[in-house]
């Protein structure tokens, strides 16, 4: 059974790649988008060999917002589902010293992803169908000293997704917000993450495919994160500001 194409923006990332596998396994054609997409040739072949679906490569620079409309026009077909996995963690200490580095993190986690989904949202709205998926972060729920530059950009992106969902709810277009928690990826390589809280990229990819199929609004990949964030949300600010989290 051939299913409508799924666009993965940020396909060179571990979560992007795993998400592509999860949708290809369900029979969807796959559009892999990233900067310098030619380097994804091995993934293109891998997915095509495993699942017998068509896989195409597309250059996309999330920071070049003026190019986004042209990028969407250049796709062989407007996707049925678009997943935006774009983001960079950055280095909080560096971001505090070097404001330009901080701005780059803000742009990569908010401006770029929001711009891409905004362009796709308008096309999907015109067509009257489709699902948009944005990978945001639990770090966007409350700013913490250890990563608030990244967290603030993700907070903006989460709010953008929520607004988009609200706007498109009656237009046949669905928006899914994904808050993965810790994931064992290149982004977190070398960090000492607690095993029970850390998902594998494959888990995230499968959770996204499931969330799309079920029309979920907001998902945490491992349920424990929902509880953790519930607690973090409810700590009074007077206490919160003194914590080191």
């Amino acid at each position: 059974m051939t299913q409508g194409p799924v666009l993965i923006i940020g396909a060179a990332s571990d979560i992007g790649r795993a998400t592509a596998h999860a949708f290809a396994a369900k029979g969807h054609a796959i559009q892999l988008a990233a900067r310098n997409s030619a380097r994804l040739a091995a993934d293109q072949t891998d997915i095509a060999v495993r699942y017998g679906v068509s896989v195409t490569l597309h250059d996309c620079d999330a920071l070049a917002t003026e190019s986004h409309a042209g990028f969407v026009d250049s796709l062989p077909e407007l996707p049925q589902i678009a997943v935006c996995v774009v983001g960079v963690l950055g280095d909080q200490a560096q971001n505090e010293r070097d404001i330009q580095a901080a701005v780059a993190v803000m742009r990569a986690n908010y401006e770029g992803p929001a711009s891409l989904l905004a362009v796709l949202a308008n096309r999907f709205e015109r067509r009257g169908t489709g699902t948009l998926v944005g990978i945001s972060s639990v770090a966007g729920i409350r700013g913490r000293a250890s990563n608030y530059v990244y967290g603030s950009a993700k907070a903006g992106f989460t709010a953008f997704l929520s607004g988009l969902r609200n706007r498109l709810a009656k237009k046949g277009v669905h928006v899914v917000t994904v808050l993965p928690g810790f994931v064992n990826t290149q982004m977190t390589a070398g960090m000492d993450l607690p095993a029970k809280l850390t998902a594998e990229p494959q888990e995230v990819g499968e959770a996204i495919a499931r969330a799309v199929a079920k029309g979920r609004n907001i998902i945490y990949v491992r349920p424990i994160w929902q509880i953790i964030m519930l607690i973090i949300r409810h700590i009074p600010e007077a206490v919160f500001k003194k914590l080191s989290l």
């Binding site: 091995a42 993934d43 072949t45 891998d46 060999v49 495993r50 699942y51 017998g52 290149q186 390589a189």
Partner: protein, 439 residues
């Protein structure tokens, strides 16, 4: 960090790196290393001394030819992935060990075998070529025709000739996901071996063996034969979607069992029940591929049932001419010790020519024991019986044998050692096992 194999014994300190791509791997070659796939070797074969290269990110499939059934894939691809991609298209691995969570690289390095060894040979039989990164970082393609020596030593070479990067393997065509199983009870070891000899034509054959029974019932077994079911022989419902077996539930062992859980009493009770259930259910039945080939995979983390101290596998092969005597001696030693092995498997091997692979014409016995002083002593005694009968040991399972035992069991070890020295492999590719066994 501390790392162990599937048996969780021994736990050893190693530096673990997970290179992404050939360049990153090449850069690691400054230190002696061993490649690690999914960590399913039982002992210390995939623990680097000092560096372990986790090959998990080398997991792409590269090409598939549906006419020849040839798959080209990177070494980190697991058999489970191959099955889920190609069984729906009518292909199955030609040779598979008892777990599908083994990587291609691991399967080649250990030259694994399956229930069809007597007919189809070891994993080597399905290989067309292998790409190996040598000590200088150069990648060499080898096959039976091209760089034939490297190919011959790499298959079964436990990763000690270089890092296996990718391979071309041929899959077998199958008409369904079902196996027609024939269950034959054997009252003792002689009957079991007789059943293997008489059923040499079966594609798959293996026996579960009760290693606690004694006397006239020594080595009583359930011999299981299997054939890939044709579509025509399936009932209508299954024939309609012959590759669909439905969802198979998997259970996880959530914590380490207390180490005394598997004692001779509990294993004896289990064996008794299992044997009589098998006897009463003897005959033909249809079993799905997952339950037939990988019964333990459904119990995720089953290695925890032996508790925190882990367990050691013992797998040997005895030449055909001494098998009957040798197996008796081994089983008597085990049953007298009252050493309950949860998993005990007997299997007839076919002939195999190889440089350093485990299988040879004869019978193989695989057992596992909890790790404690008494069991380690027992296994040393079993080693001696194997040596007396001209047998040898499976390095993918081994975690504790001595270099002297290896040397006495396998004259090929010296040739392998010489080769490694002459090709500057000794200082480059090194595992805790190769150190222990002086390879």
């Amino acid at each position: 960090m501390m790392l162990s194999g599937w048996g969780r014994y021994p736990r050893l300190d190693t530096r673990l790196e997970a290179p992404r791509g050939e360049e990153a791997l090449r850069a690691l070659l400054a230190d002696p290393l061993i490649a690690r796939g999914n960590g399913r070797a039982y002992g210390d074969a995939a623990i680097g001394a000092p560096l372990t290269a986790q090959m998990r990110s080398f997991n792409r499939m590269i090409a598939f030819d549906a006419t020849s059934g040839q798959l080209v894939a990177e070494a980190g691809v697991q058999l489970a992935e191959i099955i889920s991609a190609f069984l729906p298209r009518g292909f199955f691995p030609l040779v598979t060990p008892g777990t599908k969570f083994v990587t291609l690289g691991g399967a080649i390095a250990a030259d694994v075998h399956g229930k069809n060894h007597h007919k189809d040979g070891s994993f080597a039989a399905c290989l067309d070529w292998i790409d190996v990164m040598g000590p200088d970082g150069v990648v060499t393609r080898c096959s039976r025709d091209e760089n034939a020596d490297l190919f011959a030593w790499t298959v079964g070479g436990m990763g000690l000739t270089g890092v296996i990067l990718r391979a071309a393997l041929r899959l077998r065509r199958v008409e369904s996901a079902w196996i027609r199983q024939t269950l034959l009870p054997a009252a003792n070891i002689d009957e079991a071996m007789d059943l293997f000899e008489r059923n040499d034509a079966a594609t798959y054959s293996v026996a579960w063996i009760d290693c606690l029974s004694r006397g006239a019932g020594l080595g009583r077994s359930l011999v299981m034969l299997g054939e890939h079911a044709t579509r025509a022989e399936l009932d209508l419902k299954r024939a309609a979607s012959p590759f669909d077996i439905g969802r198979r539930p998997s259970l996880a062992v959530p914590f380490d069992a207390p180490s005394g859980l598997l004692n001779s009493l509990s294993v004896r009770a289990f064996n008794e029940a299992y044997y009589w259930k098998g006897r009463s259910g003897a005959g033909e039945s249809y079993v799905n591929w997952d339950s037939y080939f990988y019964p333990l995979d459904a119990l995720l983390n089953w290695n925890r049932i032996y508790g925190r101290n882990g367990f050691a596998q013992f797998q040997c092969v005895l030449p055909l001419e001494s098998s009957a005597r040798g197996m008796r001696a081994l089983l008597e030693m085990i049953s007298n010790a009252g050493a309950g092995s949860f998993l005990a498997v007997l299997k007839r091997f076919g002939a195999q020519e190889s440089r350093f692979s485990f299988p040879m014409l004869g019978y193989t016995l695989a057992l596992d024991f909890p790790v404690n002083a008494r069991m380690l002593t027992l296994m040393d005694r079993l080693d001696r019986i194997v040596l007396e009968h001209g047998g040898r040991f499976y390095l993918a399972k081994d975690s504790r044998m001595s270099a002297a035992t290896l040397a006495a069991s396998d004259p090929r070890a010296q040739a392998f050692r010489d080769l490694r020295q002459s090709q500057s492999l000794t200082g480059r590719f090194r595992s805790a096992q190769s150190e222990r066994l002086a390879l």
